[in-house]
């Protein structure tokens, strides 16, 4: 299990515990935790509605892929810390990370 924090659109932070051995994406964990993540394309890096900002723990994540950057750069707001939640795999590297929801809610 790995524990990281999520900051919602209103600025509330909460810890989330997620299994790191099931190949889940951050988007799937956010949805399962009932965060209002739209995730229109179901995790194919095609819609950018699962946009998050990595406030802490960016180094453990590796670089964004080209399709991920393509989507992020199409958004009205993109930060140096922007990522697509569906492209982030849950692994022990996320321990202690902090994500801020930036994408569109349902």
């Amino acid at each position: 299990m790995v524990t990281f924090e999520v900051e919602d659109h209103d600025g509330n932070r909460q810890p989330i515990e997620a299994p790191d051995d099931m190949g889940l994406s951050l988007m799937e964990v956010l949805k399962a935790s009932e965060y209002p993540v739209l995730a229109t394309c179901g995790g194919m890096a095609l819609c950018a509605t699962c946009h998050v900002e990595v406030l802490e723990g960016k180094d453990g994540l590796g670089d964004a892929t080209d399709p991920e950057l393509d989507q992020l750069e199409g958004l009205p707001e993109m930060y140096d810390t922007s990522r697509l939640a569906c492209q982030i795999r849950i692994s022990d590297e996320l321990e202690g990370a902090v994500f801020k929801l930036r994408g569109e809610d349902q």
């Binding site: 739209l38 229109t40 194919m44 509605t49 080209d66 950057l69 750069e73 199409g74 009205p76």
Partner: protein, 334 residues
Amino acid sequence: MITTDICIVGAGPVGLFTVFEAGLLKMRCHLIDALPQVGGQLSEIYPQKPIYDIPGYPEVKAQELVDNLMKQIEPFNPSFTLGERVDYLAKQDDGSFVITTSDKTKVHAQVIVIAGGLGCFEPRKPVLENLENFEGKGITYMVKDPEQFRDKKVILAGGGDSALDWTIFLSDVAEKVTLVHRNETFRGAPDSAAKVFDMANNGKIDLILSSNLTKIAGNGHLQSVSMKNKAKEEITVDADYLIPLFGLSPKLGPIAEWGLNIDKNAIEVDTTDYSTNVERIYAVGDINTYENKLKLILCGFHEAALMCHSAFKYVYPDQKLSFKYTTVNGVNAF
């Protein structure tokens, strides 16, 4: 006013196939979509992605499926209103409806079919003070009629393919075109990006890189747009139009206000004919919900067929419908 038998809200794959099923029963259709092109999610989100679960096609690209659906419904001559969102619905005394769009187009129909998918694809908007005040008064999120920009000063914002394509296109129409992009490079098609850099070098357009929009100003109509670069230097450029092109995102939108039973952004239907709680209004495809609903194109097609057989009674109240295979009569236009 446009008059038709069935008005279909949404020209995604399911809305398009509804025209075919309706056409077989000699019912005419008019389709309305908020997007400037048909195809719904297939054309907007994943045109190049292969689809594997359409019967008879081991593999088909999403856009190719849309093109084929258009070909398939051609004999029935449907009419279209594209680039307009359906806003209002008014029931008439005889049970029929009049639909009104965001551009005040009116369509009179005996039956309404909502094939609205995930909802309306709405433009993603930049965060700018007073943005709403200038919408339709200089700010527009879609190029419907390029002539609108003839001899005007136009600023485009964005770094994707549509920002590049429209910059190239409008450079021959507008008095002056400025493209503002957040980064130094473009991730759109390399050819288009190269062309845009070329045009900037030759002074045909102004290219403002590594900059974000900060302010809009004007007196009733847009007059200028300000932007800041990474060094926090702000510049202001005169403009008649600003076209932010940051992609689209779906929202349920006005359909939510029509008195239909809605559960989690989807319309509840009766699975015998996909009718809603309001007589003469049906909902098919991704926008409806029922027990065990699967959001698949295939399921939407099935729903469209059953729905049309049910709608027949409203369009031809004096006739009895007897089911025949399509192969019995062929595909006959009206």
